[in-house]
Structure formats: structure tokens, C-alpha cells
Symmetry: C2
Subunit: 233 residues, 2 copies
């Protein structure tokens, strides 16, 4: 699918796993959690239970590390039949705080891409998750000066995008979204008449996976560094 | 202090304890938590420890119920010297989820005030806390149609307000904020040249208390129902 640049004015970037590393830390923490629970269940069973708990709690907690911490604690108690030690609960709290305070690792090529595109387009960040976390990560990334606007959404469905673009007075026909999640950063945009570029990250959270996309009207790039060649004359 | 209405165009409302009840649920939960911990410490000592823990964690977790839940769990382990049962930890999780899913109680007179003011001014909501929580509460309150814009801020200091008003292209001289917290809804506004009306709620979180305000250039109303008489001709 070719990108149409004639009408393009604004480019939206997803943040987690598009601008900087995120999912990797969740996977690392899940592995540590499975290890902590290894006296009660196999790693595979622990993973499945935790994911089930996260999905149960998603409507209550929303996206973000704090909800993940609370789901780990709840799973730990259930997986251990109430036998988990308070020391292990403290270890879970420490793992979560470490994730929140983790340094931000900007993905390779991102800064150069933003430098190349920012003189030609209005760049914005559209992310979901915890407001404070995302603001902090953008600050730590050193990338905030490239962006005209940052919006943290509670969810990334077509309606959320439509409302936001309306609020920012951006015509969907002038908008292109770049992100690693087909489900959150690509398909909803096609639905509202915008364009989208999929830049996969090596790790995708199960919840963000799409088995067979209903619409394939988007471009996939293997590396974000290829964006300027597509979007600049 | 008299309110100047000639230049006034936009009115911002705080949400928690200004539009609807909030602090009361935290106090109720704190009381239940103290009760749960009564085998280890006096209610007073439990309260103090929990508040200390919340303040320690505030830079990490930010405002909102999920951070409060995590701080309760951490305090419970420490207050009990690691002796707290997993059943009590489950009780804390249940208390927090109940808070998140609590029905919204719109304060008396709020709907009438918004009805009276909305034909004359642009009304917006400026709140801090958890994004998903606040969106959900506004939805449940049935008040969302009165507001042109809703912004959830990670903090409410003068800088946060200045940036937001700039983004919304609102001149501070045209802006008035209404809220229950001197510290978050009133003083920062005076600092940036906007006006503010303080409508105290019967309960104020210790963290929001100000002993002697540096600036007293604001109006206090005993009840939000008095707003129209002040702001309409």
C-alpha cells in the first residue's frame, strides 16, 4: 500500500515500543514473577493465570504498570492458594516500582527520524496507559521538543481517535499514524479514513495481537528509520 | 474579593469533591484499613503510616486509587511486620476495586449550576488523578454534555495550568477556576493571572491542605449553588 503524502500534514506516533522500549520490561518482569511463583506452578501456568487476571482487571484498572502490579499480587495469592509470603508480595511491589522508574531506552533511529520529519510535518504523540508514566517517559526520552502535542488516551479505538482528531482540529485525511500495534495504532485509523504505517516491535503483548486484520490498507516497515524515505520528497 | 465577569469567557471546574463526592470514599476506606490493621497498631498510627507511605510513593505512582491500593498493601506488610494475611491483602484489593467502581454521587446543586452557566460561558473540567477513572466518573455523572473539554492533568501546579491554557488558546485573563482545593484549584490560578473561586468540601485530604495561603485574592463560596448569582448578570 502506497502512502499518499500530498495531503499529509500531521503524523502521530505511538510511544511504547515505537519510540522507546516497553514490552521487553513487562516480559522480563513476567519471567521474574514466574520464577517467584515456581514453588506453586509451572512458568507456563503462571503466565496464563496472570494474563487472565490482567484481562479480567483491564476494565477496572485500565492500561499501565500499577494495574499490572495489582494483578500480579492478586494472581500470586490465588496461584499460591493464599500461601505466598509477604516477602514475595514486597518483591512484586519492588519489581513494579523498578519498571516505573526504569530509564527510557529510545529505539535506534528514532531521534534521527523525528529530526528529519519535524521540519515538514506537525508531529504528535498518541499513547495509552498511565498519564504520569507516559509524561515522565517522554521527558526522560529527550524527545519532547519534537512534538507539538502529546495525548494520553484511556484506549485507542476508532472512536477515541475520531474524538481526539476533532478536538485537535485535524482532518483524518491529513493524518498518518505510526505504531507497533496493528490493533491499536493501525486498524482504527484506517476505519476513520486516516493512513497508518505499521512498524512491528520484536515483542507484542498478547492483548495487542490480531490474527487476521480485516483491513490491509496499510504499509509495514521493518524499521522506523525507513520512514523519511517514504514521507519526504 | 469581587469576581470580574466582563472579560470572563471560560470556567474550569475541578471534579473530585467539586462536582461529585470523592474524598469521603477515601476516608471510609482508610477507616476500614485501620480496622483491618487494628491487631497491629492503633487507628491513629495506621493513618499516619499510610499517609507517610502515600507521600513517599506519590512521585512514583501519582494521584489515584491504584497508587492508594499499592500504598495500603505496602503499609499493611510493614505495619504488621510481615504478619498480615493474604486474606487481608485480598480485602485491601477488594476495597480498592469497590472505590473504583463506586457509583458517582453528583453534589447537590451542581447540575443546576452547570445548566445555568453553560449558555453563557464555555465550561471545561480540569482534574488530576487517573485518566480512566476520571473519564468513567464523568460519564457516570451524566454531566459530560455540559463540558466543551475535559483535561486530566498529572499535577495541578501553576505550570500545568499555564501550559494547558496555552494549548487550549485561553487567555488566563478570560479564565476562572472553581474548586475545593486552595492548593490545587485556587492558588496556582492566581499565580498565572486567572481568577478562582474556592468552594470548600467538608473533607480535605491532608496533602491538599494549606495553612496560610500566600495570596488571598480569591472568593470563597459556601455552596456551589451560589455561583450563578455571582457570575450571571
Amino acid at each position: 500500500m502506497e502512502i499518499k503524502t500530498e495531503a499529509l500534514k500531521v503524523i502521530g506516533f505511538d510511544a511504547d515500543d515505537t519510540l522507546w522500549v516497553n514490552e521487553t520490561y513487562f516480559r522480563d518482569t513476567e519471567a521474574k514473577f514466574a520464577n517467584l511463583m515456581s514453588k506453586y506452578e509451572t512458568p507456563n501456568a503462571v503466565d496464563q493465570e496472570l494474563f487472565k487476571k490482567e484481562m479480567q482487571n483491564l476494565p477496572v484498572y485500565g492500561y499501565g504498570i500499577k494495574g499490572f502490579m495489582l494483578s500480579m499480587i492478586e494472581s500470586a495469592i490465588e496461584l499460591s492458594n493464599g500461601q505466598v509470603s509477604t516477602k514475595d508480595v514486597q518483591a512484586i511491589l519492588a519489581m513494579g516500582k523498578k519498571m516505573i522508574l526504569h530509564p527510557v531506552e529510545v529505539l535506534e533511529g528514532v531521534r534521527e527520524v523525528l529530526e528529519a520529519l519535524s521540519p515538514h510535518y506537525r508531529l504528535i504523540v498518541l499513547t495509552k496507559g498511565d498519564l504520569l508514566d507516559q509524561e515522565r517517559k517522554l521527558e526522560k526520552s529527550g524527545l519532547s521538543s519534537f512534538f507539538h502535542h502529546v495525548e494520553v488516551l484511556s484506549d485507542k479505538q476508532a472512536d477515541n481517535y475520531a474524538q481526539l482528531l476533532q478536538h485537535l482540529q485535524i482532518n483524518p485525511a491529513h493524518f498518518l499514524m505510526v505504531g507497533n500495534s496493528l490493533k491499536s495504532d493501525v486498524l482504527p485509523l484506517l476505519e476513520i479514513g486516516a493512513q497508518a504505517i505499521h512498524v512491528p516491535f520484536h515483542t507484542t503483548w498478547q492483548h495487542e495481537e490480531v490474527s487476521s486484520p480485516s483491513n490491509t490498507n496499510y504499509t509495514t516497515l521493518n524499521h522506523i528509520g525507513l520512514l523519511p524515505s517514504l514521507l519526504l520528497p
